[in-house]
């Protein structure tokens, strides 16, 4: 049971996060959502990796685009 302690500590010790790390953690979440969504949609499982990768890249680029657009709007209105 002692050998499990370091593994269990991963799920009981909070990680100190900054604002930038907070935003970077959106990327793995987008990848997970894309994999699950495409796994449910694709009839052929061999299509899943490519479809999920494409969707992940699209979503992440769209979020970055919206972020930049809102930031530029903020600078213009400042």
């Amino acid at each position: 049971m002692d050998g499990l302690a370091p593994i269990l500590a991963i799920f009981t010790t909070p990680v100190p996060l900054t604002g930038v790390q907070h935003l970077l953690l959106l990327a793995p979440l987008c990848v997970a959502i894309s994999i699950v969504y495409k796994t449910l949609r694709c009839e052929d499982m061999s299509d899943v990796p490519r479809a999920a990768l494409g969707q992940s890249v699209t979503v992440i680029l769209a979020m970055v685009g919206v972020g930049v657009a809102v930031w530029l709007l903020y600078l213009l209105m400042k």
Partner: protein, 151 residues
């Protein structure tokens, strides 16, 4: 993919729904779609517990403070049952460390998103009990469609 034959019984549909809620993806495995089910089990488990690892089980589940988020977390079924039990056991210990607002936010979002994805997974598992169910995810390339139309 193994396709079941005939109309699914009510018992089978109910069992698929309950099993799929308890372990996201297990309903697909029971339906005979093992590869799809295993991918779903691995991805949802990694995402849920990855989220819990950010803030710790004691800071992730807060039914009174984050009620709507908790409703979404409950949709993740067995993961949430284990997580909330563990979190409550940790909270009862003296000197337990709680996560900051940012880490707690990330953990709640990750676990809630898994719960919402599990709603889709359950619906898909229930639909897949019908042998006539066909997925329409990826369109064939244009050349294939033209050749199909010609034939």
């Amino acid at each position: 993919m193994a396709k079941p034959t005939g109309e699914p019984s009510l018992g089978r549909v109910l069992a698929t729904g309950v099993v799929s809620w308890l372990v996201p993806g297990l309903g697909h495995v029971i339906n005979g779609d093992r590869k799809r089910g295993l991918v779903l089990i691995i991805v949802t488990t990694a995402t849920f517990w990855g989220g819990v690892a950010v803030a710790g089980a004691q800071s992730t589940f807060k039914p009174r403070e984050r009620t709507l988020w908790f409703v979404a977390q409950v949709c993740a079924g067995g993961h949430t049952i284990v997580g909330i039990s563990w979190g409550q056991a940790l909270a009862a210990q003296p000197g337990v460390k709680y996560a900051g607002f940012v880490a707690e936010d990330v953990a709640v979002i990750y676990t809630s998103v898994v719960g919402l994805l599990n709603v889709l997974i359950i619906i898909d598992a229930l639909l897949a009990t019908d042998p006539k169910y066909v997925r329409v995810g990826v369109r064939p390339p244009p050349q294939t469609r033209v050749s199909e139309a010609a034939s």
